[in-house]
Symmetry: C2
Subunit: 425 residues, 2 copies
């Protein structure tokens, strides 16, 4: 079926390295941000395929022709499989009509109606380009709605790269921009109540991921009844509740991750899984905020781009037809069970955390994460693209056969690890 099934020479990356040398000359860091070898998946450099050349289904091929089963899914956007034929056909049909025009296509209305029908907490939808466009609009809307400055974040948060959501010690960020940020620990209702009481009348909103899909740490699910209690606290203190579903959205629950955890957000942010990679994000929210959203000065050059709307409609409809969240949970559980078992066969303890559709992996007794990184490197050099510090993503093109191949590769990688570290325990 693929070259992954048989023992093979380990992957080499001469063409990717050559392209990276070119990149270093004309692009800051060569490849910046989360897809780069530095800020990225923390795969050891010698195992890192810096550039891709094509992708299909659950796989991509790098510039040297090496084939990978990809569990990063473009860091989320690949939710149906790369180059899904139904989504691409819808996008092509729209591209043959129009994309960015001086007035929008009415397909924007169709897409908004579909999200309002699909997402439990959505009475309206506002489209932009980045997840951060949606989280920023949510924060500005909350501040305008409540005429208050402070925002409560959950410790370990990530809501994009806008200055208001960065950390004070990050380069280019002003203390003024983060001066109104408060943080509370996750799953700690007492700490939340204390913060809401201490700053009563000053807090516009609480913004949080539906569960803590952290980097460099086990992912943490909400405790039973945590979210309904948070919702009640927000209501008690007249604070808006914003859910950042950019990463988990439509993988956990088609009606929104707030729906999955039994509560209703005031506003919810989507991006990654919204259109299978076509460039669009969305802020959805409750009716009573619609006029306030309208009052915010907020627009962008490509926000009415019609092709991503067409792709988004096809993506959401297909995810619903597939009952994708159920599929993702089954595939993710089967995979992580197989990986944990493979580790155990070589006397390693692999810890899988988070929702199975977005599983996070860590090796026990490896505080520096270097053993995990080494194992990931061995998997990548054998055609399984994993990360050592970020959650992974399941897509709908992944098959049970792919999972079997993956577990075999993982097993071989653990075997190599054990031979190198015979005394590790």
């Amino acid at each position: 079926m693929t070259n992954l099934q048989t023992p093979q020479a380990l992957y080499q990356y001469p063409k990717s390295r050559e392209a990276f040398e070119r990149a270093l000359k004309v692009i800051p860091s060569g490849v910046y941000g989360h897809t780069g070898p530095s800020g990225g998946v923390m795969i050891p450099r010698e195992a890192y395929p810096f550039f891709s050349s094509r992708a299909e289904g659950t796989r991509f091929w790098d510039l040297d022709g090496n084939e990978f089963i990809d569990y990063m899914c473009g860091y989320g956007p690949n939710v149906l499989g790369y180059r899904d034929p139904d989504v691409d056909a819808a996008a092509r049909k729209q591209a043959n009509l129009e994309d960015v025009v001086s007035v929008p296509s009415s397909i924007m209305v169709d897409f908004a109606e579909l999200l309002v029908d699909t997402v439990a907490s959505a009475d309206w939808a506002f489209f932009a380009k980045n997840g951060g466009d949606a989280t920023t609009l949510a924060i500005m809307t909350a501040r305008a709605a409540k005429n208050r400055k402070k925002i409560v974040f959950v410790k370990g948060f990530y809501h994009g790269v806008a200055p208001w959501t960065q950390k004070l010690d990050y380069p280019g960020v002003l203390e003024e921009e983060v001066a109104n940020n408060l943080t509370v620990p996750f799953n700690d209702l007492e700490a939340l109540r204390a913060t809401l009481e201490k700053h009563s009348g000053e807090i516009a909103a609480l913004i949080a991921q539906p569960y803590m899909h952290l980097n460099f740490a086990d992912n943490v699910l909400p405790q039973e009844a945590y979210w309904p209690a948070v919702r009640a606290l927000c209501d008690e203190f007249d604070v808006l509740l914003i859910i950042d579903d950019v990463r988990a959205g439509f993988r956990v629950d088609m009606a929104g991750s707030d729906h999955y955890y039994g509560f209703t957000a005031d506003m919810i942010c989507f991006c990654k899984a919204l259109a299978n990679g076509y460039n669009v994000s969305a802020l959805c929210g409750k009716e009573d905020l619609k006029d306030v959203v309208s009052s915010i000065t907020y627009t962008g050059s490509y926000w009415m781009s019609a092709v991503p709307f067409a792709a988004g409609i096809a993506t959401i409809n297909k995810l619903k037809e597939l009952d994708a969240p159920t599929l993702f949970a089954r595939l993710g559980s089967r995979l992580t069970d197989g990986l944990v078992t493979a580790a155990r066969a070589h006397d390693f303890t692999l810890v899988a955390s988070g929702h199975p559709a977005l599983f996070y992996l860590r090796l026990a007794d490896d505080d520096s994460l270097m053993l995990n990184q080494e194992w990931v490197g061995e998997c990548v050099k054998r055609g399984v693209f994993l990360t050592s510090h970020h959650n992974h993503f399941i897509n709908a093109a992944l098959t049970d056969d792919d999972i079997d191949i993956t577990v075999n590769v993982a097993n071989e990688a653990f075997s190599v690890l054990r031979s190198r570290h015979p005394l590790w325990s």
Copy 2:
């Protein structure tokens, strides 16, 4: 050639109105931002085609099938003509390989190399999605590079919708976010020097459009030698000079609007004309800032999207082959000359300002802009899409025949205006 050449019934918009009623239910404002009937082109409601259905070359067709020669060009992105065959072929070819993948396509490097070759002040390129992504990164980079907070803006500025570049009285904006913003008048070197002296050692950067393409006001070109003097002042006070070329970029000069005006920016922001509507923006800059850019935490879900890179390469190459800025200047001048003459024939004074590629129109003796708005409405109802308060855009698909049709329509609209306002002078 088109129905625009012969007298016709005025356009009606029943299908667009019906779609807008649907939109009002599920989208804040129905259509938000610059393409909406409220924040948008300020065309009278009864003349406004709310939604488009297809576009080609210099024209789009609305939901009711009405055909328009479009001088808004999607507010800039349409630089070669809607659905340009060469750009679309390059994009389709890339889409058949891959778009958003876990590691970027090496076509990102090709695009960065092309921009470095094309743009005089570019030693590197960083890609994102919104013009505002580029301006925000430039500001963060300047603050990190200089370890200073303050930014000098030019009065009347627009650099996107991020909180740092909004106004204090805009909803959702905190005083803290704009507390470090200083403003100086355009074309006023003494005021700039005074500000730089007063805040010496506190200012990280000056950010400015290459000339003032304001809304609701005549556009203002730089005085002779203004920019080289600004450059010298920035050097004297160790302040970085950032040019926001999001709107004018590649329409005025392929090497950057700073090159056109005889100076070199430290960083320059591009978006609209970069890829003929495919969703990509770029920050380019000088070598000595590359490492600082790399230090900023800055990334986005779709920033490595390969299809817009392919479209961008095809767009820039075709613009260079066409010597597009020269073409735009010729077409823009011919058009505005024709419109001014048509106005004069009916005893109106039409004032065209700004660069001809991005001409701004205003009727004299019309401080409320209502007469201008009425004239624009009459043009739109006859198939010429203009705006009453924003600069327009020329694209490379525009022909001399299109301009003749436009001038005829404008002439008829002025005739209607004169019959309604016989005493206006």
